[in-house]
């Protein structure tokens, strides 16, 4: 197997992320409040309010990828936060209490803005952090949606956005600028559009770009969404991918199978999985995780459309609907099989996967596996077990 040619854009990302972390300190020095936000959060409002958004989940993912999550977690565990909690939260809490900071000090918040669309761990973590840092906490509450309640949840969300705007006006001492919000929404739209065009190229056979690549290129869509930087970044990345298509450079030379990968990667083992799959000619091409940043806002109805987009995130749906969404992605990318990651850290994504797997195979006829691990903490990773699960899948793929 030929070695992978690294993306030119990766260098650009390094610079962009360095700039992001520097921007947090610059903001603080300039008296701009730093707000902790969650990944699935209407950050457009935060940018429009002139507040700097910081993503502690990113800090957790970084610690996990650098394999120090267990170490940071120990400081949290020593205080009675148990290792059964979400690994990101343990990293964040652990870093707050730690004297050693193997991935840099987690940025101290002036405000904590939390949406519980993704999970209930984030509000509990942010609340604990709000007490630790003595900063004020604001929860954007997003009850699970289905046909029966989606309108009332949207109304509820819009009203909360108004409450949040008032909260930010207080924090900044400035009236909220709705014209600025319109610009931010447009920038966000553009970045999301580019990002999803990029993700779509994974459907080509062979593909120039896969899920593991997407994981390495998604930090800007999370952190810089709503800014010019994100748009420029994804323009450059799309151009590079286009060139690769023209030059016949593929994500996996000799691609035989496409796989759907549910949820996030096992960060400290990202490469290991990539190689395991590559050795069998399998390319992970799509995931609900990377596809979560597919927002389309209507700048003429800013709050309503923010509510529509953020309330209907994948993870805020019920069992049936989530099976449908997974199958839609599987169909769109014409996958040959699927891998569902039962992530010990993340109950909202992991619970029900065993029954979902049975349903998906019944409905699509595709082979698939569910494996157990933790996205951050290698104490819960059994290489032999995971490998043997994958071998079963590869055998099924080969015999089809």
């Amino acid at each position: 197997m030929a070695d992978k040619i690294p993306f030119r854009t990766s260098q650009l990302q390094k610079e962009l992320m360095a700039k992001y972390y520097a921007a947090a300190s610059e903001a603080r020095a300039a008296g701009v409040p730093v707000a902790w936000v969650t990944a699935v959060f209407p950050v457009e409002i935060v940018y429009a309010a002139g507040v700097f958004p910081y993503y502690p989940e990113n800090f957790g993912a970084l610690a996990a990828a650098r394999r120090v999550a267990g170490k940071l977690s120990e400081a949290a565990e020593a205080r009675g936060y148990f290792y059964d909690l979400c690994g990101y939260a343990r990293c964040g809490i652990g870093d707050a209490y730690s004297r050693e900071h193997p991935v840099g000090v987690i940025e101290k918040p002036d405000l904590l803005l939390c949406a519980n669309t993704q999970c209930g761990s984030l509000p509990k973590w942010f609340e604990a952090a709000a007490r630790f840092y003595r900063a004020s906490f604001f929860l954007l509450d997003a009850p699970l949606v289905d046909e029966g309640n989606s309108q009332m949840v949207r109304d509820y969300f819009v009203q909360q956005l108004q409450e949040m705007i008032a909260f930010l006006e207080q924090a900044t001492g400035r009236p909220f600028d709705y014209r600025r919000l319109e610009e931010v929404l447009q920038l966000s739209n553009e970045a999301c559009r580019l990002w999803n065009e990029i993700l779509d190229t994974a459907a080509l056979k062979p593909a120039p770009f896969g899920f593991f690549d997407a994981c390495l290129h998604m930090a800007p869509i999370v952190t810089w969404r709503g800014t010019r930087e994100a748009v420029d970044y994804y323009r450059a990345l799309r151009r590079e991918i286009q060139e690769r298509v023209e030059q016949g450079i593929h994500a996996l030379p000799g691609e035989r199978y496409k796989l759907y990968w549910d949820h996030i990667p096992v960060w400290p083992r990202l490469k290991w999985f990539g190689e395991l799959f590559a050795a069998r000619g399998a390319l992970a091409v799509a995931s609900q995780y990377t596809h979560s940043w597919a927002y389309r806002f209507d700048p003429d109805r800013p709050l309503e459309s923010l509510a529509e987009n953020y309330v209907s995130a994948y993870v805020n749906h019920d069992f049936r609907r989530r099976i449908d969404l997974k199958i839609q992605l599987m169909n769109k990318y014409r996958v040959d099989g699927y891998v569902l990651f039962s992530n010990r850290s993340c109950k909202p994504n992991a619970l029900g996967l065993y029954d979902k797997s049975n349903e998906i195979s019944r409905l699509t006829g595709l082979p698939g596996v569910v494996f157990e691990a933790d996205m951050a903490d290698l104490r819960f990773f059994s290489e032999a077990q995971v490998q043997s699960k994958m071998e079963v899948l590869f055998e099924q793929l080969a015999s089809r």
């Binding site: 205080r79 009675g80 936060y81 148990f82 059964d84 909690l85 979400c86 939260a89 519980n116 999970c119 209930g120 761990s121 509000p123 509990k124 973590w125 609340e127 604990a128 709000a130 007490r131 004020s136 906490f137 929860l139 509450d141 009850p143 699970l144 029966g148 309640n149 009332m152 949840v153 109304d155 509820y156 009203q159 909360q160 409450e163 019920d318 069992f319 049936r320 989530r322 039962s342 010990r344 109950k347 909202p348 992991a350 619970l351 029900g352 065993y354 029954d355 349903e359 157990e372």
Partner: protein, 382 residues
Amino acid sequence: MIQDLLAEFVEAVNFPGRHAREWKKEHGGRVIGWLPADVPEELIHAAGFMPFGVPGGHSGVGLADAHLQGWVCSLARSCLALAVQGQLEFLDGLIIPHICDTTRMLGGIWQHVHPLPFMEYYRLPRQVERPSARRYLQAELQRLKSRLEEFSGREISPEQLNRSISLYNRSRSLLRTLSRLHRENPGRLGSRMFYDVVKSAMFMPREKYTGLLEKLVNCIQKEKMERPASVRIPLLLSGAVAEPPEILDMIDQAGGAVVADDMQTGYRYFAVDAPEDGDPLAALAVRQLNQIPGALFDPRNNPRAAFLVEKARNHGVAGVIFLHLKYCEPENYDYYDNQQALDRAGIPGLRLETELGTSSLEQMRTRLQAFLEMVEGTADGG
């Protein structure tokens, strides 16, 4: 007399489905189950159904393995296991409150594994301090009401709902009286018995339960004059549920008594009433918004820690026992701050991690005894 009454409550707890089955036979009605916590039983009752609480089970928890990973709390696992085992065959419906990620995901799995004619969620707001919470909550209660009406085929009139509210308020107020009597003389009933009486409310038709409870309270009040109060080490229990119940026995046997708590199958269940004047749906919303702090809500600055300290002081408890179900994230996130607050107030605390359906309790007994000896010493010295 008291012994006969108590036997009825104990039997309801030991055979939780008995009353529901009998009620169905007698009334030809339907039974709607609910999982803890905070589901507005008044709505179910006003719709003409019998509400039935499912606060966990004790057998065959492993039967949930195929559907819920082993690192999910045993409360959720044991409830689903009851359904899988066919022990909830009398349920016509179920309402699951969304109080954590587990309950949020459980409904879809339950519906898939063990479908029921009526399945709903109670999606209560997770912030309670801003105006949006009340408005949304009222809409959610309205939605639940309409769904129950669809299922029953008739409307719930405001008068009906008011009647159900006052019945529930009545039983809650009796439970508060009982809890005061228990606090005054904790040796009379003992902790295990007191919480059995509370819990049996979840398994009995409410009319019948309230009648029995009224008798019990009257009897205890009457004999109060004649019996001297026994001396126990007063404790506060904090957590979701008092499970496994053997722990209460152990506390009693070690000379302690639980005289205060913040549990879903304890004080949280009867602490707050719904107002009886005005719009009944609004009243149910008010009750929810006034609930005592717990891990399931996200109030700013954790008034729960302050609440625990205040309660511990008011009731003069010698120590606080955190009874945490393994894998329950909400409780674990609160723990450090709660413990810190207790430390600052000079109140000793002990955290025990438990699971429903486990048999190895001896280690826990040793820890409990050691804790009780320790706090008894402190209490004497202070």
